[in-house]
C-alpha cells in the first residue's frame, strides 16, 4: 500500500507542472487580453492561390459566409 506515496508524489508533481504552466502563461501576457483571441479564431481561413510563382496572394474569400455580429 506504500504505493500511495508514489501516487501522491506523482499527482502533486503533475499538479505543480500545470500550475507552473499557468504562471508562465500569465507572465507571457496571455491573460492580458481575453477578448480579441475569441474573435480572431472565428475568421475564415482563406484559400491561398498562386498568382505568380514565388509570390502568394490570398484569394477573395468566400463571400456568402457571414459571421454573426460579435458585439
Amino acid at each position: 500500500m506504500s504505493i500511495i506515496y508514489m501516487l501522491l508524489a506523482i499527482s502533486v508533481i503533475v499538479a505543480v507542472v500545470f500550475f507552473a504552466a499557468f504562471v508562465l502563461s500569465v507572465k507571457n501576457g496571455q491573460y492580458d487580453d481575453t477578448y480579441t483571441p475569441s474573435v480572431r479564431m472565428l475568421f475564415d481561413d482563406e484559400l491561398v492561390k498562386d498568382k505568380k510563382p514565388a509570390t502568394k496572394k490570398p484569394a477573395t474569400p468566400n463571400t456568402n459566409n457571414h459571421n454573426p455580429k460579435l458585439n
Binding site: 500500500m1 506515496y5 499557468f22 504562471v23 500569465v26 487580453d33 474569400p61
Partner: protein, 807 residues
C-alpha cells in the same frame, strides 16, 4: 436616402456610385478601393458597414520625421526591426480586428500586427529599412484608422501591468482544489485501516498546500487590516484577517497534535472566493482613461519657424517637440490644430474656439498682438505666433496645480461594507468571549475550541462578497449601456447623491447650434439663392450650419467672394451684393431696426444680413438641447436639488427656466474656480454633490464633487478627469442610472441579512462546540456561492430596467 457601403452613414451631400455600391464620400470610396485592390474585401463580409470615414491628415504627422520623437514612441528598435503600439480609437468591431491584423497584405514592409480589442491598441512590427513610422501611420490613416498620438505618449515608460491578483487567485485555486481532494477521505470519519495509516501524510500535505495561500494570496487582507487598526478603523478586512489567522493557527495545531484534520479546505476556499470577488470588481474600461490631464489632449509636436526671415520664401520650418518650446519661439498653428502654449498672435486670422477650456460656446476672433491661451483650437487658416510661456507654465497647465486634483476622493468616503463591519466585528468578538466564558465554567476543555470555532464560522466572507459582486455587476450593466464608471465604489457614492450640478454648454446642449430662426424682412428668391451660394463658400461653423438648413435654393457660381475673419463674408453675383456676418460688418448705415436691437446684445448668436436694398434681418441661433433633457429634469427634481452653472452668458436664461422645474437654480458667467468653490460650499453644508460636465472648464468642479460625470459625444476623444464617462446618447437615462445605484445598495443590504442568517446557523454549531470540518466545509462555500448567485440574479433583473427604458 442611400447609406454608405463603407461606413453606414447616410449619404447626405451626394452619392458616389462605384462598383455597384454607394459611398458617402471619396474617403470611404478610397478605403474600399485600397481594400479591394489587396484582396481584403472580406472586411465587408464580417460586419455590415464596418468602416470609418478617414479624416484629413495631410501634414498632421510631419513630426514623425523628427528622430527624437520617433525614438520616444518606439517600443523596440533593433536591427531594422521596429515595434510600435498605438491607441486607435476607431477600433470597434471584428472587421477592424481583421483588417488591422492583415496590414501586411497592404504593404510588405509591415511584418505583423496584433490588436488588443479591449484596450483599442494595435501593435505593429515593421521593417525599418523598407518602411518608416510616418508611412505606417499614413497607411493607418488612409484606411480610416487614425492612431491618436498625444503629448502623454512622449517617452512613455513601459507599462507595468499588475498581474499579482491573477497569480494570487491561481495559487489559491490550485491549493483549494488539491486540498479538497486530500480532505475528502476524512469527511466521513470511517475507521478504516488504511485511512488511519495514511491520514498524517494527507494532513501534512494539506498544511503544505495552505502555507502559500495564507502567506501569499491572503497577504493583502492582513496588510489592510493592520492599516485599518493603525488608523483606528475596524474595516471589513479586520474580521477576515482574524478569521484567516484563527483558521490557520487552529488547523495547524490540530494537525501537529493529531487531534483532527483542521479546516484547511475551508481556509483556502474562503481566500479563493474572496479573491474572486476582487477580480470581479477589478473590471475596468482600459480603453478609457479617467485620469487624463492636458497631456492626453495636447499635440506631441508643432511647427516651429527657424529663420525669422520676413520674406516668406525662405522660411525654414521644423517639427519641434512641444516640451522644447521656449519663450520667443515662433510657431505655426494650422486650421483645426490646438494651441499648446500661451502665445502672442503675430499674424494670420485667428478664430479661437475656447469652448473646451472656458465653456464659451462662441469662437473668438483675435487681432495681431493679442494674447492666446493654451487649449484653444484655431478654426480659420494658418496663424503664426510667438511663445510667451513654455508648456509647463501655461494657463491650462496651471489649472491642474489646484490641490483638488491631488487629493484622493475615495479615501474620504466610508462605504457600506465598512460601516457594517464595525458593528459586526464587535458583535462577533463579544459572542466569542461570552461563549468562551460559558464553556470555561461548564466544560473547560471545550472553551478554546468554541472560541476559535466562533471566529472561524463568523468570518464575514459572504459580507465581503456582497458589495463587489453587486457593484461589479452594475458596473458591467452600466458599461453595456454606455455609462463607463471608473470603479465600483463610485456607484455606491451615486446612491447618496442629493444635489446635481449641471454645466450647460456641451452638457445639456449638443455641440451644434442647429435651432435657427429668422427675424426681420423676408428675403426674395434671388437674395435667397445669393445667400446660400455665398454661405457655401465659407468654412465658418455658423455658415455651415446655416447652409445646411437653406440648401434647397439653387446654387450659382459667385463673381466675387470675400471672407473677413471674425466679422463676416460678402458675395457678389451679377451686381447683387450680399453681406453676411456681425451687425457692424453688414450694416454701415446704423438704421435702428427693432430686430437688431432685440438681438444685438452679445448674448445671442446671430448672423445679420444686408443686401443692396439695405439691412434685412438676422438669423438667431439657439442651442439644441439634448434629447430627454426635459424628461431627466422632471424625474430628478423630486429626488434631488438641481443647479446649473454655466460659463456662458445668460442669453438663454428664459428658455432654460422654462425647461426646468421652478426649483432649479441657474447661475451664468461662472469661471472654472467659481464652479469649484460653489460645489465646495454645497459640500460644506453636508450635501452630496454630483457634477455633470463636459469640458476642461468643469474639471476642477468634477474633481471637487463627490461624483463627477463627463458627458461626451465621442468617448474616444479627450475628456477631463472624472469618475464616470456617459455617452451623450444616453443622457436621457441619467435618472435610471441613479435609481439603479440606489437599488444596488438595497441589494447589498439584503445580502447582508442573508449572510447573517448563515452566520446564525453556523454560530449555533460553533457555540455548542459541534463545528466539525465537514460542516464548515459545506457552510462556508455555500454561503459565499449563494450570495454570489443572489446578487447576480437580482442585478441582472435591475439591468432589464435600463433596456425597457430604451424602448
Amino acid at each position: 436616402m442611400e447609406s454608405c457601403y463603407h461606413c453606414g452613414d447616410q449619404c447626405r451631400e451626394r452619392v458616389i456610385s462605384h462598383c455597384g455600391k454607394n459611398f458617402c464620400c471619396n474617403g470611404c470610396k478610397t478605403v474600399f478601393d485600397i481594400l479591394q485592390d489587396h484582396d481584403l474585401s472580406y472586411y465587408y463580409d464580417l460586419e455590415l458597414n464596418p468602416g470609418t470615414t478617414p479624416s484629413a491628415f495631410e501634414g498632421k504627422f510631419d513630426f514623425l520625421e523628427n528622430e527624437t520623437i520617433v525614438a520616444s514612441l518606439l517600443e523596440f528598435d533593433e536591427q531594422d526591426t521596429q515595434i510600435v503600439s498605438f491607441v486607435v480609437p476607431n477600433i470597434h468591431c471584428s472587421s477592424c480586428i481583421w483588417v488591422l491584423e492583415n496590414l501586411n497584405k497592404l504593404h510588405s514592409g509591415i511584418k505583423t500586427t496584433q490588436v488588443n480589442f479591449p484596450e483599442k491598441t494595435v501593435r505593429i512590427t515593421y521593417d525599418a529599412k523598407a518602411y518608416s513610422l510616418k508611412e505606417v501611420v499614413t497607411l493607418l490613416c488612409r484606411i480610416g484608422y487614425e492612431p491618436s498620438i498625444a503629448l502623454e505618449d512622449f517617452n512613455k515608460k513601459e507599462k507595468n501591468i499588475d498581474r499579482s491578483l491573477i497569480y494570487k487567485l491561481g495559487v489559491a485555486g490550485f491549493a483549494f482544489g488539491n486540498i479538497m481532494f486530500l480532505s475528502f477521505p476524512e469527511y466521513f470519519e470511517v475507521n478504516e485501516f488504511w485511512l488511519e495509516q495514511f491520514k498524517h501524510v494527507f494532513r501534512w500535505l494539506m498544511f503544505a498546500f495552505s502555507i502559500p495561500v495564507v502567506f501569499y494570496s491572503g497577504r493583502d487582507y492582513f496588510i489592510s487590516a493592520y492599516k485599518g487598526l493603525r488608523s483606528k478603523i475596524l474595516n471589513i478586512d479586520v474580521p477576515i484577517a482574524i478569521g484567516i489567522a484563527v483558521l490557520f493557527i487552529r488547523s495547524t495545531a490540530e494537525v501537529a497534535m493529531g487531534w483532527g484534520t483542521g479546516f484547511f479546505d475551508s481556509l483556502t476556499g474562503l481566500i479563493f472566493f474572496l479573491l474572486l470577488g476582487r477580480l470581479f470588481q477589478q473590471k475596468t474600461y482600459s480603453f478609457l482613461s479617467f485620469e487624463r490631464d492636458y497631456k492626453s489632449y495636447f499635440p506631441i509636436a508643432v511647427t516651429r519657424i527657424l529663420s525669422l526671415d520676413t520674406s516668406k520664401n525662405n522660411q525654414k520650418e521644423e517639427q519641434a517637440q512641444v516640451y522644447e518650446l521656449k519663450k520667443g519661439d515662433r510657431i505655426l498653428i494650422r486650421n483645426g490644430e490646438l494651441i499648446p502654449v500661451d502665445a502672442i498672435l503675430i499674424n494670420g486670422d485667428a478664430l479661437i474656439d475656447y469652448s473646451f477650456v472656458s465653456g464659451e460656446a462662441e469662437p473668438v476672433a483675435k487681432q495681431s498682438g493679442d494674447k492666446l491661451f493654451a487649449g484653444g483650437r484655431q478654426q480659420a487658416g494658418i496663424i503664426e505666433m510667438e511663445v510667451i510661456k513654455p508648456v509647463e507654465q501655461s494657463y491650462l497647465t496651471q489649472l491642474w496645480s489646484n490641490e483638488v486634483f491631488s487629493k484622493n476622493k475615495t479615501s474620504s468616503f466610508e462605504n457600506l461594507t465598512n460601516q457594517i463591519s464595525e458593528r459586526f466585528t464587535l458583535g462577533i468578538l463579544s459572542i466569542a468571549i461570552i461563549a468562551t466564558i460559558f464553556w470555561i465554567v461548564f466544560e473547560p476543555s471545550k472553551a478554546i475550541n468554541v472560541f476559535t470555532a466562533v471566529l472561524i464560522v463568523a468570518c464575514p466572507c459572504a459580507i465581503a462578497l456582497a458589495a463587489p459582486f453587486t457593484l461589479g455587476n452594475l458596473l458591467r450593466v452600466f458599461g453595456k449601456h454606455k455609462f463607463y464608471v471608473k470603479d465600483s465604489s463610485i456607484i455606491e457614492q451615486m446612491a447618496h447623491v442629493d444635489t446635481i450640478v449641471f454645466d450647460k454648454t456641451g452638457t445639456l446642449t449638443t455641440n451644434e447650434k442647429s435651432v435657427i430662426s429668422y427675424e426681420g424682412v423676408a428675403l426674395n428668391a434671388s437674395e435667397k439663392s445669393l445667400l446660400t451660394s455665398t454661405l457655401r463658400a465659407s468654412n465658418h461653423p455658423l455658415s455651415r450650419a446655416l447652409y445646411d438648413i437653406l440648401k434647397e435654393n439653387n446654387i450659382q457660381t459667385l463673381d466675387e467672394f470675400e471672407e473677413v475673419v471674425g466679422k463676416g463674408i460678402s458675395g457678389v453675383y451679377q451686381k447683387e451684393r450680399i453681406k453676411i456676418g456681425s451687425y457692424a460688418f453688414v450694416d454701415e448705415e446704423e438704421d435702428n431696426l427693432q430686430t437688431h436691437l432685440n438681438f444685438n446684445d452679445n448674448k445671442h448668436t446671430t448672423v445679420h444680413i444686408s443686401t443692396n436694398n439695405g439691412y434685412k434681418g438676422c438669423y438667431v441661433f439657439y442651442n439644441r438641447y439634448r434629447e430627454g433633457v426635459r424628461q431627466v429634469f422632471d424625474q430628478l427634481s423630486d429626488k434631488a436639488e438641481i443647479i446649473i452653472l454655466s460659463g456662458d452668458n445668460d442669453g438663454e436664461k428664459k428658455h432654460l427656466q422654462h425647461l426646468l422645474s421652478k426649483k432649479a437654480k441657474l447661475l451664468f458667467n461662472q469661471k472654472p474656480e467659481d464652479k469649484l468653490n460653489y460645489i465646495k460650499n454645497l459640500q460644506d453644508k453636508g450635501k452630496n454633490v454630483m457634477m455633470v460636465g463636459d469640458g476642461l472648464n468643469d474639471s476642477g468642479a468634477l474633481a471637487q464633487s463627490n461624483v463627477g460625470v463627463v458627458v461626451s459625444e465621442n468617448i474616444n476623444v479627450f475628456s477631463p478627469a472624472s469618475d464616470g464617462i456617459l455617452d451623450a446618447k444616453r443622457f436621457k437615462d441619467l435618472y435610471t442610472f441613479l435609481t439603479l445605484s440606489k437599488n444596488g445598495i438595497s441589494v447589498i443590504k439584503w445580502s447582508f441579512i442573508l449572510s447573517l442568517l448563515y452566520n446564525l446557523v453556523g454560530l449555533g454549531f460553533a457555540v455548542t462546540g459541534n463545528l466539525k470540518p465537514v460542516v464548515a466545509a459545506i457552510l462556508m462555500p455555500l454561503s459565499s456561492i449563494s450570495i454570489v448567485i443572489f446578487t447576480t440574479v437580482v442585478t441582472y433583473y435591475l439591468g432589464l430596467k435600463l433596456k425597457n427604458s430604451n424602448n
